[in-house]
Symmetry: C2
Subunit: 335 residues, 2 copies
DNA sequence: TTGATAAATGTAAACGTTTACATTACAAAT
DNA sequence: ATTTGTAATGTAAACGTTTACATTTATCAA
């Protein structure tokens, strides 16, 4: 690869001048700008971003870190797309780390990204007391948390009103006459699920239905967990009339378990899933789901990160986006 | 962040010695190793990967580029997971670029990744004559192509036998008595679709069914295209009895169009999708699909890249993985 | 003509590493 | 006592930029 020096020699100026040209420094004459640009084109010179990043701490070389819990979860894919969309428009490159709910892996990515001198980080913390992320914030590295916040420290957050989202879903079921509603949750270490649980309880309260702990199941957030938990639910002596499933992978697993038992949805059991997906409408039957605006969350987070990089001292923000209950065919009224 | 110098001062050795310690250079005494390691721990020193990368060209700082056409396509998500899995085990970091079938964006990522001094690149070329990628290969930057190869130049490739995959699907439909089989394809600039088309034709040939160009539709590879093309297909005066859909997003779009018209699958129309997905089994009805081993492709590509980095001169490889036809409920026999 | 001021360009240090080469210390061989 | 060899460590240049500061050149007022 050609470098500044080569360009400088080619156009018979100093490397400083070339550097100024590529950085649009106004104090270089029109004439030399053209000359240098010609050389740059001739030699197909591209500035080395590694050297740029090493030299200048002030985010000349735009690089952004994005750490997500599970790239198999289409919700996070939407988030990635949102971040990437904004980044691309603003000439940032994005480095993605996927930690699959493995705390060690999350830590590793935190370290690597730091060592890569990223300008800022967007991350979905594995839990609310994530020390690794706290440290970054304390070091004044720009951080925006997504989907989940941090409890011990003030930080920018973009999330969804999980409590209200869950509340609305359960409220809908209760309105349709359901009383025994099972909840397939993710691990309660994850703040999101704590909030959804809280929405679940509040809705029951509102309708004067007693909370029954034996209807709540929390394991991992993957397909298999959904499948296994649903199997257990279906075996219960007094079978629930409805299931509220905590994320899209759990829902898929649950659906498979239900279909495997040849149980009819919604006649024999109703189901609402958290997370709406492109295929929800093509499922059997079309799934009633709580829609999270993943793309918007990603975009908003990137935007906020951008602002924080530009202005590190500014007050921390807490953005809460709305969910939407998408009514389809997987729920029905019972008496 | 603390640096080599700080550690050197703390442990009263030269920075060269510290560098040797972090690189496990055998020619440093047991004693000093311990002393330096203590300082490293005390100061929480992490080597700056940017500086490492700048200084040493020989891939000390393991960084890998991965460029994919569409992160919304779960097939590519599987590929990403495969690559990441291998990378993580071998202490590589992965930088991901998603170009959304936009050639400009692909070019930009190619440039950026190069400027980032990546050690190697895994990429799904936008078409077979991709000059940008050709250039990288010519510059001896380790490159592995995935899903699609390059026609003009010898390069490592990991792909799937698209022709055979499509052949088997169409053969299955023909065996069940279908004669008018529509093909919802992606753009024929993309080699994958050329190959699938070829399999489609060969199957027709085998069964002595005349090829009817008006049954082939090629547009983009997204949800919307699938929906719109399916609408057109359903409006055809003589409606096809089966649809072969070129990728999972197209399939989803097509399904929605079919459901919107209240047309029964498979009684009124059969459908097979290329790409099997976790939710295929929960679709209405469970979808017969051609399964591509995305995760394995990703892992294999990463592995090959690793080998090429270690041994740049080695002969280029061409790995072709098998597809599998997952028989479910979206196809039926007709007379 | 001179001196002052501004504009354009150049010089060289710095960013945090790696590494070729030089130096030191010490044991073993002469 | 001198040489030789080896192991451990240090010195300084290099990677490709940016940028504070210095220098040159041009412009213009006096």
């Amino acid at each position: 690869m050609s470098n500044l020096k080569a360009v400088a020699e080619h156009s018979k100026v100093s490397i400083a001048t070339v550097s100024r040209v590529i950085n649009n420094d106004p104090k270089v004459s029109r004439e030399t700008v053209l000359k240098v640009q010609a050389s740059i084109a001739a030699l197909e010179f591209k500035p080395n971003r590694v050297a740029q990043r090493l030299r200048s701490s002030n985010s000349k070389t735009k690089l952004l870190g994005l750490i997500i819990p599970d790239i198999q979860n289409p919700f996070f894919v939407d988030v990635v797309r949102g971040v990437e969309d904004y980044a691309y428009q603003n000439n940032f490159a994005v480095m993605i780390g996927n930690f699959g709910q493995d705390e060690k892996k999350e830590k590793l990515y935190l370290d690597i990204f730091q060592s890569e001198n990223i300008d800022g980080l967007i991350v979905a913390p594995i839990h609310g007391k994530d020390k690794g992320i706290e440290n970054l914030v304390k070091k004044n590295i720009p951080v925006v948390c997504i989907d989940r916040g941090l409890t011990e420290i003030d930080v920018d957050v973009v999330k969804v009103d999980n409590e209200l989202g869950a509340f609305n879903a359960i409220d809908h079921l209760l309105n349709m006459g359901h009383k025994r509603i099972a909840f397939i949750s993710g691990n309660f270490k994850i703040p999101t699920y704590i909030e959804r649980m809280s929405g679940y309880k509040k809705a029951l309260e509102k309708h004067g239905v007693a909370f029954d702990e034996s209807l709540v199941f929390a394991r991992n957030t993957d397909y298999k967990s959904g499948f296994e938990i649903a199997q257990k639910i279906l075996e219960l002596e007094e079978r629930p009339t409805a299931i509220f499933s905590g994320n899209n992978l759990l829902t898929l697993g649950a659906l498979e378990a239900i279909h495997a038992e040849n149980i009819k949805i919604p006649e024999e059991i109703s189901i609402i899933g958290f997370d709406d997906m492109p295929w929800s409408i093509s499922l059997n039957p079309p799934l009633t789901a709580v829609r999270q605006p993943g793309f918007d969350m990603g975009r908003k987070a990137a935007e906020m990160l951008y602002e924080r990089i530009a202005n590190p001292g500014k007050k921390k923000e807490n953005v809460i986006l709305k969910t939407e209950l998408m009514l389809r065919k997987s729920t029905t009224r019972i008496e």
